[in-house]
């Protein structure tokens, strides 16, 4: 029954109207079944549209490993579905566009900020408190906080469905952290799903609707946030 439904969904997945109906029938935005990597053996996870889940856990518990597995960057087993469609049906590069990860220390390879953004795309820098000419900055001259914000922006402009954030505000001061949280919130309100790794309990409480704790290879739900 379930298999037949998935086949129907994937058959019709190009049709947006059908997708909206599927969402009404509460197909999860992201669904993870029995995910297995070198450090954990069985992870189940569900993420709804417009939902933000905070992921906490002691350092070394594998939060980054989990995000990398979801982005399919390291070898892993298990089923992952995006809007009911198995990731096996996506080409790897399309999958990583849809389920976009922003690592804790994003890499830069071009000389200028612009080299890391799609060409001919109108990009609003003000959302992050950066001037419009920030696109022409040399990456090497940006502060680590600016780079952090730009890394989130370069993921967002590619219009992902799910955003995997690995401590995105670790290098930011109060006002810039707020800007990032606002930007992520607007992404969420437009239907995006977010998994947000953080060490900051207060922030987790503030940005997330659900809290997950990763410890000793087990993922468990701690409590529902008020938000």
């Amino acid at each position: 029954m379930r298999g037949a439904f998935r086949r129907l969904v994937s058959f019709l997945r190009d049709n947006k109207a059908v997708l909206i109906v599927c969402r009404l029938k509460s197909v999860m935005l992201l669904e993870v079944r029995a995910l297995q990597t070198e450090i954990f053996s069985h992870i189940d996870l569900e993420l709804e549209a417009s939902e933000c889940v905070a992921l906490t856990g002691p350092s070394g518990s594998g939060k980054t490993v989990l995000l990398r597995a979801l982005a399919d960057l390291d070898p892993n087993q298990g089923d992952v579905f995006l809007e009911g469609v198995s990731r096996q049906r996506f080409s790897p590069s399309i999958w990583r566009l849809k389920v976009a990860m922003v690592p804790a220390e994003p890499a830069w390879w071009g000389l200028r900020v612009r080299d890391h953004f799609p060409k001919d795309e109108v990009i609003s820098m003000q959302l992050l408190g950066l001037p419009e000419k920030a696109l022409d900055w040399e990456v090497a001259r940006c502060s680590s906080g600016e780079r952090q914000r730009l890394a989130i922006l370069r993921a967002l402009v590619r219009k992902p469905s799910v955003l995997l954030l690995d401590e995105p505000t670790a290098n930011l001061d109060g006002s810039n952290r707020e800007r990032v949280e606002t930007l992520i919130a607007s992404f969420r309100h437009a239907g995006g799903g977010v998994i947000w790794v953080t060490h900051d309990e207060v922030q987790a409480e503030r940005v997330a609707q659900r809290r997950l704790q990763l410890e000793a290879g087990m993922l468990r739900e701690t409590k529902k946030s008020a938000a």
Binding site: A71, D72, L73, P92, S93, R96, H116
Partner: protein, 266 residues
Amino acid sequence: MNLVNLSALDLGLASALILALAAMSLWLSLGLERTLLINALRMTVQLLLVGLVLKVLFAHASLLWIALGAGFMLLVAGREVMARQQRRFSGAWGYGLGTLALTVPSLAIILLALVVLVRPVPWYEPQYAIPMFGMLLGNSMSGVAVGLDRLMQAAWQQRNVIEGQLLLGQTWDQAISELRHEAARAGMIPIINSMAAAGVVSLPGMMTGQILAGSPPTEAVKYQILIMFLIAANTGFATLGGVWLGSKRLFDERERLRLDRLRKVT
């Protein structure tokens, strides 16, 4: 043939120069005398042996024996490519990659050279086939080794950059393309430069040998030009093929960067 024959005494006198150099190294405590003498001895033994092998091969010029000799040369060259990489694939790929990259263009080019260009009778005449194949392999081997070594080192060092590009939705091919270009350039530049220096700075060994053996310099030069074209083409194709195949093997079917397939050689 107006070649002056060398006696054992001539070689012995020449080797005295090496002994003098070893004595100098000992006196200056450079610590090189042992390696110098061992390698000089090794060179002597290897070349005497290969002289005997070639003599036998020339006497029994059958296609089977020549193919066996060429196969042996390919295997040794592949091993040498592997030995010159600081990080290489574990398992069969470590040896197979360089050997395969050398084998495909080298066989095609030597067949082209013998059957279409030089046309000795028979076409596998060892006097032509073996030295030409040796020159092709010796140069291409360096190109492939440099290219692969550069590719693996760069992939290792720039892991974050490659994965960062994958995370922004690039394919494996796009994410590795810059490193692949650099590796291919590194492998091909030496042979390109040596064409520029040929005849002006360096007198290539094959031409020199033919002139010493009494060939007219203009004939020797023609052979040298031919072999330089073949060597440069072979080095280029082997390097491009090896670097491309190696870069593909760095990723798996889900286009993940798999540096765990490499191992460092200590």
